[in-house]
């Protein structure tokens, strides 16, 4: 399973279903809100075995599935030995 598919699975686990085409803002569509964002962060951290840096938790990084994918990739890269 690739990263994008794994992220979509985390969304499903927290009871949220983003548009399949990934278009539009997750916040504007009501998919992410003040309740679901905590579940999402915790789900991502568990699924990818990462700790998301506080300073990286900005609104723009949760705008879309693609931006979340970039956040996860960046965090995974940071966690690689020697990085």
């Amino acid at each position: 399973m690739n990263i994008r598919e794994a992220i979509l699975e985390v969304f499903r686990q927290i009871g949220r279903e983003p548009r399949p085409d990934g278009k539009g803002s997750l916040v504007d569509q009501g998919i992410l809100d003040s309740l679901s964002i905590l579940d999402l962060i915790s789900g991502l951290e568990q699924r990818f075995d990462i700790a998301l840096e506080d300073e990286m938790l900005t609104l723009d990084r949760f705008e879309s599935i693609s931006s979340i994918e970039q956040l996860v990739r960046a965090t995974l890269d940071l966690a690689k030995p020697g990085s």
Binding site: L32, S34, L35, I37, E55, L57, L59
Partner: protein, 347 residues
């Protein structure tokens, strides 16, 4: 699992308790009910309100954890933010407030923000979008303070969570004691912001030993802002968090009802309501936080959703601090009321 009386002990008394219960004779007679007003606007202490009950427990926990900084959030008109700014200052803690930005600030909001600034709080404005995901801002701020060697303590929206809920359980226990070890109210009407007070009332009948065998009242939440669905989701979330924290599975009861028809009442309607309630009852309720719920209750009395014979408790959850929110509309509302009563003709 039940709550032991010691768990509700007030370790940091900030509020003047118990607050009185008054009977509203005029409305009781008019509608054939007994309408009690629980005067939590009298908790005192920097403008008080029911929030002060929750903050006693939250700030006690912050002290126990040797917190150096307090973080909380709310609207520019937020009583919670103002109270935390004041109480944090008293307790020697720095206060950081995440405040939802508004396109225009009503005079009452400006007053509130100025009070927060006077009290030395750091105010961080969040855009509407940032507000939607405010936990991100909380986590960033918490991390920044921790990296600077501080010990931040977060007070959640609506003072929700286990420590704050103890304050609401204490309120229910206080009502029980004031009514000679009984809970005679058949309906409790509450202005609902985040749903924390509704949750606390519902929970009380599941975890307070003295109330577990009582018939719970119907809990009517008049939403001030959120849709009914969102409020019920919040309440479900509080139950889930309580269950996880205590390993005691509890869930929302069927006797909670939420009405969002009175949320976001426009200033004209608030001004007209203020005039009506003041002239009939001699009461001036806060037009942002208490009055909409009171008007909602009046409507339910009128259409008999609250039936005759009911023993109703209305929680006056805070003092009147936001008269300026409908100042421009008050003159026309007074003139309209005067005309309707014929006083205008006599003049």
């Amino acid at each position: 699992m039940t709550i032991a009386p010691d768990d509700l002990q007030r370790c940091l008394p900030l509020a003047n308790l118990p607050t009185p219960i008054e009977i509203c004779q005029l409305l009781s007679q008019r509608y054939g009910v007994t309408l009690h007003l629980k005067r939590d606007d009298c908790t005192g202490g920097l403008h008080g309100g029911t929030k002060l009950r929750a903050l006693e427990h939250l700030l006690h926990q912050a002290e126990e954890e040797q917190a150096s900084d307090l973080i909380t959030l709310g609207e520019a008109t937020s009583s919670q933010c103002r109270l935390v700014a004041a109480l944090g200052r008293r307790l020697g803690m720095r206060v950081h407030l995440l405040v939802r930005e508004a396109a225009t600030l009503a005079p009452t909001a400006v007053d509130n923000l100025e009070m927060m600034e006077l009290l030395g709080a750091e105010i961080i404005f969040l855009t509407q979008s940032e507000w939607q995901l405010y936990p991100l801002a909380v986590r960033r701020l918490t991390g920044r303070l921790q990296r600077a060697g501080q010990r931040p303590y977060f007070i959640p929206f609506g003072c929700a969570g286990r420590p704050g809920t103890r304050g609401i359980l204490g309120l229910v226990q206080e009502l029980y004691e004031q009514q000679e070890q009984s809970f005679p109210f058949t309906q409790v009407v509450i202005a609902a912001g985040s749903g924390g007070t509704l949750f606390g009332f519902d929970l009380a009948f599941k975890v307070l030993p003295e109330l577990r065998d009582s018939t719970p009242p119907q809990l009517l939440g008049l939403s001030l802002d959120e849709s009914a669905d969102n409020l019920l989701r919040n309440i479900d979330r509080y139950f889930l968090e309580w269950s996880q924290a205590t390993s005691c599975r509890v869930s929302r009861s069927d006797h909670i009802r939420v009405d969002d028809r009175w949320a976001k009442l426009d200033p004209e309607a608030r001004a007209a309501g203020l005039v009506k309630v003041a002239s009939e009852l001699g009461e001036i309720f806060d037009p942002l936080y208490v009055l909409p719920a009171f008007l909602g209750m009046l409507s339910m009395l009128e259409d008999q959703t609250l039936p005759s014979g009911a023993s109703i408790l209305f929680l006056v959850s805070g003092p009147c601090l936001h008269l300026a929110s409908c100042r421009d509309q008050l003159g026309p509302a007074l003139a309209a009321a005067s005309l309707a009563s014929g006083a205008g003709d006599r003049a």
